[in-house]
């Protein structure tokens, strides 16, 4: 909850362990980058780096939302399917709006607005079912994951939904254009990350999330509206999914049953690699960002080299996750025995 810099009075032994947790993911990312550079100097070319950042924006944005859910002791498995369902509905609505509204900016705005409403709504449903319905978050989101996934398949009639060609032209810049040298998705990523960090670390809401994840009963006795805060974490997650979808749709201009597959796992992995505790009570937005970058970097490096097959991407990611969590564990033990 508090950043390392708040620990001015901490004793040396403790400071080193806290610092380790903060810089661990950063060091890992740095090492990955060095490996990438050694394998192929083109890794650090400007083109590749912006590509890498853009790619990590999707998972990164979703993972910022996941940090809130996990910090408050919940879990959301439905994000990948939710992204697919939202893209599907966006495409259908925009395609249908072409006749009445044309293929200009208003149609795209309609689609984006709709995405945001859907994301918030879907998040609220997850939240309400876990809090008011008193069903385990794992079960609720496992259920909605299946529902959303099958809905896209149904909308696309088993195939692919394609965005109207003219709208694609209007919408394209959202993914492909740059501002001050950085692609738009990266700016969205930065904005979401900053807002997320402020919300989690500097507001009462963030403190409440942490408190609930740490001990729900204590939170309730401390005048915190536990149900509302938990529901809001799912709403934030939904909103983040909307943002990710809005920048994702212009990339391919289509949605199908395979859109967003396994995004939930990558998002959760990014959160955990970043040092957020899976059982709740301790969240780090900065770590999550690094986690998302690490995951994307692995894939990117494998693309660049023949030493390891690209098909082993999942293996590398899996190893990194396990090692990251292992390091956090042993670090905690160290802190305790001192």
């Amino acid at each position: 909850m508090m950043t390392a810099s708040d620990d001015t009075a901490a004793k040396p032994a403790k400071r080193s362990s806290i610092d380790f947790k903060t810089i661990g993911p950063a060091v890992a990312l740095l090492i990955l980058c060095i490996i990438g550079f050694l394998l192929n100097p083109a890794f650090v070319s400007e083109g590749n780096l912006t590509n890498l950042l853009t790619r990590s924006a999707f998972i990164g944005i979703i993972a910022v939302g996941a940090t809130f859910v996990i910090t408050a002791g919940g879990i959301d498995l439905s994000v990948g399917s939710m992204a697919a369902a939202i893209s599907g509905v966006m495409i259908i609505i925009m395609n249908n709006a072409v006749e009445t509204m044309g293929s200009g900016v208003p149609t795209v705005l309609l689609g984006c607005g709709l995405a945001i409403v859907l994301g918030i709504g879907a998040g609220w449903v997850n939240g309400a079912l876990t809090t008011k319905g008193k069903i385990e978050a794992f079960i609720v989101t496992l259920g909605t994951m299946g529902i959303y996934r099958s809905l896209v398949t149904y909308f696309a009639d088993g195939g692919t939904l394609s965005l109207n060609f003219d709208i694609r032209g209007t919408y394209r810049p959202v993914y492909y254009d740059t501002f001050l040298g950085l692609p738009f998705p990266v700016w969205v990523f930065i904005a979401v990350a900053i807002c997320g960090w402020l919300l989690l670390n500097r507001t009462a809401f963030g403190r409440y999330c942490t408190a609930i994840g740490s001990n729900e009963a204590v939170a309730r006795y401390s005048a915190i509206n536990v149900d509302r805060v938990k529901t809001l974490t799912y709403v934030i997650q939904g909103l983040c999914v909307s943002f990710a979808t809005i920048i994702y749709v212009p990339r391919l201009g289509s949605a199908s049953a395979s859109t967003g597959v396994l995004w939930e796992l990558e998002a959760i992995a990014a959160v955990i690699i970043g040092g957020t505790v899976l059982k709740g009570g301790y969240g780090r937005i900065g770590g999550t960002i690094l986690g998302a970058l690490i995951l994307t970097t692995i894939g990117n490096i494998l693309n660049f080299t023949d030493v390891i097959s690209n098909y082993l991407n999942g293996t590398m990611q899996g190893l990194i996750i396990i090692v990251a969590v292992f390091l956090q564990r042993s670090d905690w033990k160290l802190g305790k025995s001192k």
Partner: protein, 507 residues
């Protein structure tokens, strides 16, 4: 150390034990020994290092220097409860039961009886039932721990230890959560263990109990060994003085007469809620109202309902003359009503967080400036609270779970007072608190009342109810059986109402 040459040889000995957590020293060359068949009490102020010493004696912590001798031989005790195999069993201050498992599963955890490779449930349940009958505990081996009261959980811990054939049984504040009656049952159990040659170490802040049950007493102050003496040489007053190192004035503050004409701040009529049956009472400005009764008589339930922590089924609640329907905890807080839970570990404090976020959690809206938390204001509040409530932490940055039990209680009190309530309900205000601090808390409560704050004290400790309350409500099985004032507030009267021998027709 005072060595009695005729005494049997010690089973376990701590010799010149020092302990530091990081750079923070907590124990300074402390020695203590336990003989078979004796009760050795360890007393000292909150944070004196009692729990730490107990954890070292049972292998949960390693000493920084010094030795542990078992039967005269130097031993490195195995960590994490492994010392149980050597016959050294610790019952933690914070109970250590698997909440979701049954009584029987907990008692046999880690050494289940088996027949043909399968668990022998029948045999285990029979054994546990035998122990439960012996101890006079009215629960079933198949009950889930989470459904038991704290007192029952405590007894289960004792059953668990007894069933492990302990040679040395170390108990950290076992009676803190027990009523006097339960304590007597517990002491009979301790006597039995003693007769069978078990050496018992017993930590308690209730000095009368120490006098009653202990053979020898060791006193710690600020991590230093002060003395070890036969308890027959000591009186509770002497113990208290040796603990705090100064003369203690009156434990209870002088009683100011309550103003019987003061306005009513809280009126409860025919309240029905879970475990609460048709309860009516009122509270005046500046009054200290005691709630007495046996554990489970519904005292806590009444106030959890009033403060929005439990649903209200029927009845009216008037706060400051206005009807309030069911409120949320936050609404109750904003109206000036605050409840301090008796269960500080489970409901009171975030044990894995530091003091600052814990202190400000209940009154957090107060610390918001422009949608952001004002960390400077939080820090100031912490410094103020540490001074006002004398919270003693050698290191301000440790997580709250590492504070000594009494200091956790003081921090919890500070947390609740942070919202400046006009009515505060304190459930078991001095559980696990040393005499010196008890005195501070009683004076604090009296001062609050003098300032016009109304205080409800729920307590199972009769003397404190009698010592500080203007008026006492006695409950039994969810009903109010009597309301006592003035000279009627005495142990006898309270017991008769609490036990249901006497009942007042309430107007």
């Amino acid at each position: 150390m005072s060595v009695d040459t005729t005494a049997p040889a010690a089973v376990i000995e701590a010799v010149n034990i020092s302990k530091s957590f990081g750079p923070v020293p907590v124990l300074f060359s402390v020695s203590m020994d336990v003989r078979p068949g004796e009760v050795h009490a360890l007393i000292g102020e909150n944070g004196a290092g009692k729990s730490t010493l107990m954890k070292i004696l049972s292998g949960f912590h390693d000493p920084t220097s010094g030795q542990i001798r078992l039967d005269g031989k130097q031993t490195d005790l195995p960590p994490n409860g492994g010392a149980e195999k050597l016959g050294v069993v610790l019952i933690h201050q914070e109970l250590n039961l698997a909440e979701q498992m049954t009584v029987e599963e907990n008692v046999f955890l880690g050494r289940e009886l088996k027949s043909n490779g399968f668990l022998d449930k029948a045999a285990m349940q029979a054994t546990v039932r035998k122990y439960l009958d012996e101890i006079g505990l009215d629960i079933s081996p198949t009950d889930r721990i989470s459904d038991l009261t704290i007192a029952q959980k405590q007894m289960v811990e004792i059953v668990k230890a007894v069933s492990r054939n302990a040679r040395i049984l170390i108990m950290d504040e076992p009676t803190a959560v027990l009523t006097e009656e339960e304590t007597q049952v517990f002491f009979r159990q301790v006597e039995k263990l003693k007769e069978s040659g078990v050496g018992i170490v017993f930590v308690s802040h209730k000095l009368n109990e120490v006098k009653e049950i202990a053979d020898r007493v060791t006193i710690l102050r600020d991590g230093q060994w002060i003395d070890t003496r036969a308890s027959s040489d000591l009186t509770p007053d002497m113990m208290a003085q040796m603990m705090v190192g100064r003369e203690l004035s009156d434990l209870y503050p002088p009683m100011h007469e309550a103003d019987v004409d003061a306005e009513l701040v809280l009126e409860v009529q025919n309240l029905r809620a879970p475990s609460v049956n048709n309860v009516s009472f009122s509270l005046r400005k500046g009054e200290i109202l005691g709630f007495s009764g046996l554990i489970g008589s519904g005292r806590t339930a009444v106030f959890e309902a009033i403060c929005g922590l439990a649903p209200i089924e029927a009845g009216t609640i008037r706060l400051f003359g206005r009807d309030t329907g069911p409120t949320t905890v936050a609404q109750a807080r904003d109206l000036g009503l605050a409840y301090l839970t008796k269960d500080r570990k489970e409901k009171g404090l975030l044990l894995d967080k530091k003091m600052r976020p814990n202190l400000t959690l209940f009154a957090l809206p107060k610390f918001v400036r422009n949608f952001r938390l004002d960390s400077k204001a939080e820090e100031d509040a912490l410094n103020r609270a540490i001074r006002r409530f004398d919270v003693r932490a050698r290191d301000k940055e440790i997580t709250v779970g590492k504070l000594s039990g009494g200091n956790q209680q003081k921090l919890l009190l500070a947390k609740i007072m942070e919202c400046d309530p006009k009515i505060v309900i304190i459930d078991e205000p001095t559980r696990g608190i040393d005499v010196g601090t008890k005195q501070q808390i009683y004076h604090f409560i009296a001062a609050l009342a003098a300032e016009g704050v109304s205080v409800v004290v729920i307590s199972s400790e009769m003397p404190e109810i009698i010592g500080i309350c203007h008026r006492v409500v006695v409950m039994r099985e969810g009903h109010i059986t009597g309301v006592l004032t003035g000279d009627h507030i005495n142990e006898n009267e309270i017991m008769r109402y609490a036990a249901g021998l006497k009942r007042e027709e309430l107007h």
